[in-house]
């Protein structure tokens, strides 16, 4: 494992599998009566969030605390960042405070990369702009492997706002590395220009793809990132690309429905589908803690020398 976790694009197959296997062990810790490990005692993890994200930040916080690390939450609002401090100055401040790891979310793609070049500790990308969100992809892969027993050879369909989705990008790279075949389904306006260079199939017809899917991953329509009209009306989007009860019925018996959350019920996913037995939405949250524990352990659990 390298010193930072910035992308899944650069994550090797061995390292990805090491994270998943370690997460499997961490998940067992949740079954113990004392769910706290002394492993990272004396280490400091800083959650540096320039964008609001209660669930990801909380997930990292729970993971770090279960490993006995000290956690400092540093959110942009109410800090000197809102007074105009630059990312570099913030980084130097954290460095001076002795942060062993910085978990960074930023609205600018590439911000965690810059941060990694300024701090001595490890940097974990918790979502940067429309670029990557590696721990989300790892927890999704972990969830698939736990439910279906494997990742290699799975047919995974990712539906929705691929253009703005760092979750989609991280998943596409990771799943390609782990041997799954990915199809993205979206209105043409919500696909990036470079999609033909990605290791994916592209389709505009959800009904044709669903019967051949082992996993269907629904993405949230990110209204906050949309400055222009990407589709005529929400109703039309929902009718063509939403996973309603009738569509879920044409999925194979064993197929999973995943969503990184937060869901917009009735928009990209119907309530009944989100609450059905094939939905892994709640599991994904629990698995997120195990995967983030694994990442923190692998980055901070040793002497720091690459072995």
């Amino acid at each position: 494992m390298r010193r930072h976790l910035l992308t899944t694009e650069e994550l090797s197959r061995d390292d990805a599998l090491l994270v998943l296997d370690t997460a499997e062990r961490m998940a067992r810790v949740a079954e113990a009566s004392v769910r706290k490990l002394p492993t990272l005692r004396g280490r400091t993890v800083v959650n540096l969030f320039f964008e609001d994200s209660t669930r990801t930040r909380t997930s990292f916080e729970v993971a770090a605390k279960r490993l006995s690390a000290d956690v400092i939450n540093f959110s942009a609002r109410g800090s000197s960042v809102s007074k105009g401090e630059s990312l570099k100055d913030t980084a130097q401040t954290l460095e001076a405070m002795g942060a062993d790891a910085v978990v960074c979310r930023h609205s600018a793609s590439g911000a965690p990369h810059r941060l990694a070049s300024w701090v001595r500790g490890s940097v974990v990308n918790a979502g940067d702009g429309t670029h990557e969100h590696p721990t989300q992809a790892l927890l999704d892969a972990f969830t698939m492997r736990r439910r279906l027993g494997r990742i290699e050879g799975l047919r995974v369909t990712i539906v929705g706002d691929v253009l703005h989705s760092r979750v989609a990008r991280s998943n596409i790279w990771l799943l390609a590395t782990l041997g799954a075949s990915v199809t993205v389904v979206a209105p043409p306006t919500l696909l990036p220009l470079g999609v033909s260079a990605w290791p994916v199939e592209v389709s505009y017809d959800l009904d044709a793809v669903l019967p051949k899917s082992d996993v269907v991953m629904m993405l949230r329509v990110q209204r906050e990132r949309m400055s222009a009209a990407y589709f005529p009306t929400e109703r039309e989007y929902s009718r063509r690309y939403g996973l309603d009860v009738d569509r879920a019925a044409i999925l194979p018996e064993h197929a999973l429905v995943m969503h990184p959350g937060p869901m917009v019920r009735g928009m990209e996913i119907a309530s009944q589908v989100a609450d059905s037995a094939r939905s892994t939405v709640v599991e994904q949250v629990a698995n997120g803690v195990s995967v983030r524990m694994a990442v923190l352990y692998l980055l901070l659990g040793g002497s720091g020398e690459v072995s």
Binding site: L18, R25, R28, A32, L37, G301, G302, S303
Partner: protein, 207 residues
């Protein structure tokens, strides 16, 4: 990164490796310890065997089979990975985690017997005692080891010892078990010629 379970330590090192326990010796030792456990715990009442990975786990299973053959008692068997409780995590690269599998009945009020292959510094056992506390409060904890090679760094002793084996600190003890290594045997490996260059295998750091 998994320096412990891998490779053949003998072939990497010049000098003569001495076989100190044969496959038959190991079988006899397991048999004897099984009897001692039955004697000391009055027929194995409330006993849970927890192997410390890697090689403690197959040893725990062998003890359980032997106990079953002698008295027809089925002892619960599990595994306990002490890695995340070690005190030397920061001294080297990150260690891969092993499986922890606590039997369904849990450990509360039971007599837990920790099983490991080599007892050395005692630090692994210390970590295992902490790990165990996260899963409950046993009535008593005992320790069974195949080989006690001395050089304790902590006030820890074994209740059941297969063989006391005086060694030099610079030597390594390599335990091989069928389930992990394909064959049974215990060897003492001579000191590595250049300790700095030797990617220290398995047994030396196990304890």
């Amino acid at each position: 990164m998994a320096a412990n379970a891998t490779g053949d330590p003998v072939s990497r090192r010049p000098g003569v490796a001495r076989t100190v326990l044969s496959a038959d010796d190991i079988t006899r030792i397991v048999s004897r310890i099984a009897h001692q456990i039955l004697e000391k715990t009055t027929g194995g009442a409330g006993v849970v065997l927890l192997g410390i990975p890697t090689r403690g786990v197959p040893l725990a299973h062998r003890l359980a089979r032997r106990v079953h053959a002698v008295e027809g008692v089925d002892l619960p068997v599990g595994s306990l990975d002490p890695t995340m409780y070690r005190d030397d995590l920061r001294l080297r690269g990150v260690r891969p985690l092993e499986v922890t599998e606590i039997p369904d009945g849990g450990v509360d009020g039971q007599v837990v017997i920790l099983v490991d292959d080599v007892l050395f510094s005692g630090r692994t056992v210390r970590a295992a005692l902490d790990a165990l506390a996260a899963y409950g409060r046993p009535r008593a904890v005992q320790l069974a080891v195949l080989v006690d090679r001395g050089h304790r760094e902590l006030p820890i002793r074994a209740d059941y010892v297969g063989k006391n084996m005086p060694t030099s600190r610079r030597e390594s003890v390599a335990v091989r078990l069928r389930e992990v290594d394909g064959a049974d045997g215990v060897l003492i490996l001579p000191p590595a010629p250049d300790p700095a260059a030797a990617g220290e295998p398995a047994a030396r750091d196990r304890a």
